[in-house]
């Protein structure tokens, strides 16, 4: 059975792992000193060589992204995406709460590499404990000379600022994150022309990186790209954090070698199997946006390319397992409801379409479904994401709306039409499935 490979989660169980002492005692800020001795471009090359893929969902190679920054346009900024709110995702919060200095060191290394004027750590609003831990760590690091004026005694100076979110999933999208950081409504910008690398924060060149992505940098700089690429396979290097939740015996967040482990190993070896030793009916391989996988996909490796090839994504490493007792209509509805609630409202198809789909679902769940509703759901979805393929085509600016259309909704309808028909004909789920019946009594008070 494969063992967890600890690269970025080494201090999670260390009582003082979040303090400067605890961090320094375990080799903290050595990588920063090493990076500062290197030429920034050499740091970029090292990260490129490590082939570190972004961990925020899109999986874009980090070093390559950095090299998109236009030459000699300054100031530039680094923005850390700590807005973790994709359904099922649980890793960035742990990295921020339990090993904040590792993140900060990663931020400093990245800032040095891209010659950032300033860095902002944008933390999701609903995570005050993460704020406290990162704030405390920043204060320590400033006092100890790792941040601010003359970092580590060099003539390089830079400020790192902790920024609070306030509750809006869409702000996780990088251009919305930038809008939000500018003090605006978190509504995404159209790419092109507003690629952060060219027109980002304050319309200046900007790199947006996920917390986990940056947390890998100290290790890469200390141990070198070669050592890093010796983990995982050639396309998927290093490790990844996977949060496995839902109907497994022992849900948890595991750091495993990237690209090698399979879903089956994750569910059965790491998580001790499915609850009550039931069978897997469906599972989400990469967050609430992702199309679903089923029993026959269990032996797929946790390899971005392979999962993508099978029409879904590893996304943010959020894996949700649903056993054979799960009400698929209900489960799909809950995800559609999420996107409907979180639409920023900018694009008509997403603003109106996701809410329309959610209303149709409610009718079906309330026993008032009409025979034409499933076809209607699919057609409304198709108007948000033409063709309902993956990765999704868009009539919208960002992929939020299209995820609501081409994710859970399509997966569940295509795989479990019977369950929809049963609701529509009998006004209730097929026998033997639950996840609780939808209760009008729970409709939010207006």
């Amino acid at each position: 059975m494969p063992a967890p490979t600890k690269m970025i989660s080494t201090r999670w169980d260390q009582a003082d792992g979040h303090t400067l002492n605890g961090y320094l005692r375990t080799g903290g800020y050595e990588a920063l000193r090493k990076a500062l001795a290197m030429n920034p471009d050499a740091v970029v090359d090292e990260v490129k060589a490590a082939n570190l893929a972004g961990r925020g969902g899109a999986g874009f190679p980090c070093g390559t992204k950095w090299s998109f920054l236009p030459k000699d346009i300054f100031p530039r900024y680094l923005v850390v995406n700590g807005d973790e709110s994709e359904p099922g995702t649980y890793k960035d919060r742990l990295l921020m709460e339990r090993d904040p200095h590792q993140l900060i060191e990663g931020v400093l290394i990245a800032s040095w590499a891209i010659k950032a004027e300033q860095a902002f750590i944008y933390i999701r609003g609903e995570m005050p404990h993460a704020h406290e831990r990162v704030a405390a760590a920043l204060n320590e690091a400033y006092a100890a000379g790792y941040i601010g004026k003359n970092i580590c005694g060099t003539d390089w100076s830079m400020d790192v600022v902790l920024h609070w979110g306030a509750g809006a999933y869409i702000v996780g999208e990088e251009t919305a994150l930038i809008e939000s950081l500018e003090g605006n409504r978190g509504m995404p910008r159209l790419k092109p022309p507003f690629f952060p690398a060219s027109k980002g924060l304050y319309m200046q060149p900007t790199v947006v990186n996920n917390v986990e992505t940056l947390a890998n940098l100290p290790w890469i700089i200390s141990n070198g790209a070669a050592a890093f690429t010796s983990f995982g396979n050639e396309k998927n290097t290093g490790t990844r954090l996977f949060a496995v939740s839902g109907h497994v015996k022992n849900p948890g967040v595991f750091e495993v070698e990237f690209g090698t482990t399979t879903f089956r190993e994750l569910f059965y070896d790491f998580c001790g199997g499915i609850r009550e030793d039931r069978t897997v009916k469906a599972f989400i391989p990469g967050g609430g946006s992702a199309p679903w996988f089923f029993e026959e996909d269990l032996d797929t490796q946790l390899d971005a390319g392979v999962v993508g090839g099978k029409g879904s994504m590893l996304g943010s490493g959020a894996i949700v397992v649903m056993d054979d007792t799960t009400d698929m209509v209900k489960a799909a509805w809950r995800l559609v409801k999420f996107f409907a609630k979180e639409s920023c409202g900018k694009c008509s198809p997403c603003r109106e379409g996701t809410n329309w789909m959610e209303k149709i679902y409610r009718r079906i769940l309330d026993g008032e479904g009409r025979p034409e509703d499933v076809a209607l759901l699919l057609d409304v979805a198709d108007n948000i994401s033409p063709g309902l393929t993956w990765p999704p085509k868009q009539t919208t600016i960002c992929p939020l709306g299209p995820s609501a259309a081409a994710g859970a909704l399509v997966s569940s309808i295509r795989r479990f039409p019977v369950e929809y028909d049963h609701y529509i004909v009998h006004g209730r789920p097929i026998d033997g499935v639950s996840t609780g019946i939808y209760r009008p009594s729970l409709a939010p008070a207006s």
Binding site: A168, R185, L190, P193, A340, K341, E342, S343, C344, G345, K346, C347, S348, P349, R351, E352, G353, N355, W356, K359, I360, R363, L376, D382, N383, I384, P386, K393, Q394, T395, T396, I397
Partner: protein, 875 residues
């Protein structure tokens, strides 16, 4: 004015690029948006959020088309796609059709579809798209979003959030164009709505524009709602005459009543925008207080009686015959059409041979200052090296010019140097605001120009700190070497300071470089036309003096003024002294508008005969022996001239009340009663006569003005090539311009600005210096006759620095007496710490007895300022 093809220099290298739209290759300009390029070449891509005068946001998604890219064809919003060389576009594919139908259906799911009761019904892009592209019956069986039906977001605008499709047009306009971001998106997702901050209304001078650009019926104007249905509207294009910017408009009427004005996108002028005063003061046209029949008074003070036109005209003609030319005076006329003005000038200067004609009421500048500088156009603002403000608060007086200037400053980054004794609407956008002490503007400007020329200031001059002088100097120095134009907005910043102070200041700026051009910041709609037509003492039509133009007009008219005449101040003095016996008021209200109210009243009292020709009664009419009802805006056609010297067409849409007539008819008839036949049958005859006889207006014929190429009007003097007929043929129904100029007389040389010497006010620690400027919504008869606007005029007040209030042991809110040499006003104290100490700001024409109660022409001339004292308690 001619089609550019013939005049544009041939550029060798290809500056355009090729895009293929629906299989047809076409030229696009670099950076041009696909949606605009497509429309220009005849392919209309549906849209809701995109507006050509605002930044694109790509929100509504209606404009999705298939565009070629690295990964093949993909759906892209045409409003956010700059054209690229070789770009292939499909606007009609099945994918596009489905996407657009889908978007439309989405926009309709929460829309009430209450078209039958909606103001926009019949002219609604959403309704039109639905008919053209939209799916049939709704597949949306769920409960729609509900909102309280129209809520007022300002005194003039209502918002129906159920109809709103969240296109972001109104909100973008408020921030990007007006600079008043008081409406905003609130909440998120499908609960997003447009709204204001609680109890903080959309109080913008430009709020009406959001009603015009709303693509659905969500925003409606209270002066229009339910007044008429778009389909029984019928409309003509015309020009707004509420101020001298001359915004192009369409005037819509229903029955025989004007119901609405809409801005027309005139590129050199208003870009489609209007201010709320211009948009809504059409209400005055149908005001019940309009003069509708001739009135006469047996004696001064007696009640006016209705009489026939012939009776009234005979009384006037008979009286005028008995007076010497020097005993007759004409005051006003700055709001009339060019044709009215020309007819009056001929009546006065040719027929009555008096030169006592003045369109201004000592509240402007001398004609040579308005006309004699090298002229700028509004478009020059955007490309200028710097803009110098030497006039009134243009946000209050020339609102759409303010929008153009704001655009130049904000988006084109043109530095603005503002000379203003008190903060103005432009101050937030000024690179440097030079705060001079009232009366000392010339000193301040000269100091700044000296700094620009290298000798920077060490100490305070004209009340301005050395830093400010040097900062302004540096900006202007940079602009002058840049070789770009330096545009001076010149006007009368305060009626409590003499005009020559501002002229002296302007001369100091223009002396610095030949690139200095001047845009006259004059408020009255057709003051430029009035001066062009010679409505000033010593002036003849075509911006010429008697000396220059005498022979020329003698040749045309057979006669001219006997000897140089008087300006309004002198006419009123003369009337008060009994040497002027007849005063004719041409839409003028000296009691309210002449700088010295006391003199105005004495003058009107002194005259034997006061004739008032006007649309509405006013304070001066009470002195009138004869009142003639004139046709007003929307009731007469002709031409008007904006502050650039741009001649545009005015159209009549509704009939005048009662027997009211256009002024040109009144002038023409009086002339014939006095024995001279002008031979004018129609107003067009005068337009062509002006083009034929007034050298500056050669070429501004009816035919030229009607050419599509001249839709934005003709800036006079006309560049010679303009008069040569070209591609788009003239309207054959009108003959080319008439009588050729007599070759014997050479065309006169136009006016040059004359040097003036100012006075430096003597400081006087005891009294305060008065500043008075106009505000958009005042006690003016037109605003007050427009029910929707009248209530927006704020109560009169005196604005003071809190330091001054304390020094006088007074308190904000106190009603105190503001006392000057000539008069006093009881006003409420308002704190304004943006004002310097030592000054008192009293808005012009806000109280029933306005700031002109405090001004004395004698003191102005002698001291160069108006001094006032504050005294507590009512008198």
């Amino acid at each position: 004015m001619t089609d550019t093809a013939t005049t544009a220099p041939e550029t060798p290298k290809k500056t355009t690029l090729t895009v293929t739209i629906d299989g047809v290759a076409m030229e696009a300009n670099p950076g041009e948006l696909l949606i605009a390029a497509a429309e220009r070449t005849g392919t209309y891509i549906p849209r809701f959020c995109w507006h050509p005068r605002m930044k694109e946001v790509g929100m509504c998604r209606m404009c999705l088309v298939e565009v070629s890219g690295p990964r093949g064809m993909s759906l892209q919003p045409a409003c956010m796609q700059p054209c690229a060389e070789g770009m292939v576009v499909d606007t009609k594919s099945a994918m596009v059709k489905k996407a657009q139908d889908g978007v439309l259906e989405f926009l309709l799911v929460n829309h009430p579809l209450d078209c039958p009761v909606c103001d926009k019904g019949g002219e609604c892009p959403l309704q039109d798209q639905t008919l053209t592209f939209g799916p049939g019956e709704s597949r949306f069986v769920e409960e729609k979003r509900h909102n309280e039906k129209p809520i007022p977001i300002s005194d003039l605008v209502l918002l129906d959030r159920e109809r709103c499709i969240l296109c972001d047009r109104c909100t973008r306009f408020s921030k990007e164009v007006a600079g008043d971001p008081l409406i905003h998106f609130i909440n998120r997702g499908n609960t997003t709505e447009v709204n204001t901050f609680p109890d903080d209304p959309f109080a913008s001078y430009f709020s009406g524009n959001v009603v015009q650009i709303c693509p659905v019926g969500a925003l409606t104007a209270s002066p229009y709602r339910f007044a008429a249905r778009p389909w029984d509207l019928d409309q003509v294009e015309s020009t707004c005459t509420s101020c001298a910017v001359g915004c192009r408009v369409v005037v819509q009427s229903s029955g025989d009543e004007i119901t609405r004005l809409q801005g027309v996108d005139s590129d050199p002028v208003n870009w489609g925008w209007l201010c709320d005063k211009g948009r809504f003061d059409f209400e005055a046209v149908s005001s019940p207080s309009r003069l509708s029949a001739p009135l006469v008074r047996a004696a001064r003070g007696a009640a006016p009686e209705k009489v026939s036109w012939s009776a009234a005209m005979t009384r006037i003609a008979t009286a005028l015959r008995t007076y010497q030319p020097s005993e007759i005076g004409f005051i006003g006329g700055a709001r009339l059409t060019n044709e009215d003005q020309y007819a009056y000038v001929r009546l006065a200067k040719q027929v009555l041979r008096t030169d006592n004609v003045d369109a201004q009421l000592a509240d402007g500048l001398t004609p040579d200052a308005w006309l004699g500088f090298p002229k700028a156009t509004i478009n020059d603002l955007a490309t200028a090296g710097a803009i110098v403000l030497l006039g009134p608060d243009i946000k209050e007086e020339l609102p759409v010019l303010f929008l153009r200037l704001r655009d130049a400053a904000v988006t084109k980054k043109v530095p603005v140097v503002e000379f203003a004794a008190a903060p103005t609407g432009v101050s937030p956008y000024a690179a440097e605001s030079v705060r001079y002490r009232p009366g000392e503007v010339a000193l301040a400007v000269k100091a700044v120009m000296a700094a620009a020329a290298g000798s920077s200031a060490e100490r305070q001059i004209g009340g301005v700190e050395a830093d400010s002088i040097n900062a302004a100097g540096a900006i202007l120095a940079k602009a002058i070497v840049s070789g770009k134009k330096v545009v001076v907005l010149l006007g009368r910043a305060s009626m409590a300071e003499p005009d020559r102070a501002f002229v002296e200041a302007a001369l100091a700026v223009s002396a610095a470089s030949s690139d200095v051009v001047v845009l006259p910041a004059m408020r009255r709609a057709n003051l430029h036309g009035a001066l062009d037509m010679g409505m000033a003492p010593g002036l003849l039509p075509g911006r010429v003096t008697h000396g220059e133009g005498g022979a020329w007009f003698a040749a045309h008219w057979g006669a001219g003024p006997s000897n140089p005449g008087l300006d309004t101040a002198a006419m009123l003095e003369a009337a008060a002294a009994g040497t002027i016996k007849a005063l004719v008021l041409l839409g003028a209200d000296p009691v309210a508008d002449f700088v010295d109210r006391d003199l105005a009243e004495r003058g009107l009292m002194g005259a034997e005969l006061v004739v008032a020709i006007d649309t509405l009664p006013n304070a001066s009419n009470t002195h009138a022996h004869v009142m003639l009802p004139a046709a007003g805006f929307g009731e007469k056609s002709g031409t008007t001239t904006n502050l650039e010297g741009r001649v545009t067409v005015l159209s009549s849409k509704v009939s005048a009340p009662g027997t009211a007539r256009p002024d040109w008819m009144i002038a023409t008839e009086l002339a014939s009663m006095l024995g001279t036949d002008f031979g004018y049958e129609t107003v067009g005859d005068i337009t062509d006569d002006i083009a034929a006889t007034v050298p500056t207006h050669a070429g501004a014929t009816r035919a030229e003005l009607r050419r599509p190429a001249n839709a934005d009007g003709i800036v006079v003097p006309v560049p010679t090539e303009a008069s040569t007929p070209s591609a788009d043929a003239a309207d054959p129904s009108v003959e080319e311009n008439a009588e050729p100029r007599p070759p014997s007389v050479a065309a006169p040389k136009p006016l040059r600005v004359r040097a003036v010497d100012g006075v430096v006010p003597q400081p006087d620690s005891y009294s305060l210096r008065l500043i008075t400027g106009r505000v958009l919504y005042d006690q003016g008869s037109i605003v007050q006759a427009s029910s929707s606007l009248a209530k927006l005029a704020r109560p009169a007040s005196v604005r003071l620095h809190s330091g001054e209030i304390e020094r006088h042991a007074m308190h904000p809110g106190d009603v105190i007496r503001v006392v000057s040499q000539t008069g006093e006003l009881a006003l409420t104290i308002e704190v304004d710490d943006h004002l310097p100490r030592g000054v008192a700001f009293v808005p012009w024409n806000l109280a029933d007895r306005g700031a002109n109660t405090l001004i004395n022409v004698g003191e102005l001339a002698a001291d160069g300022i108006t001094k006032v004292r504050l005294e507590s308690g009512r008198s």
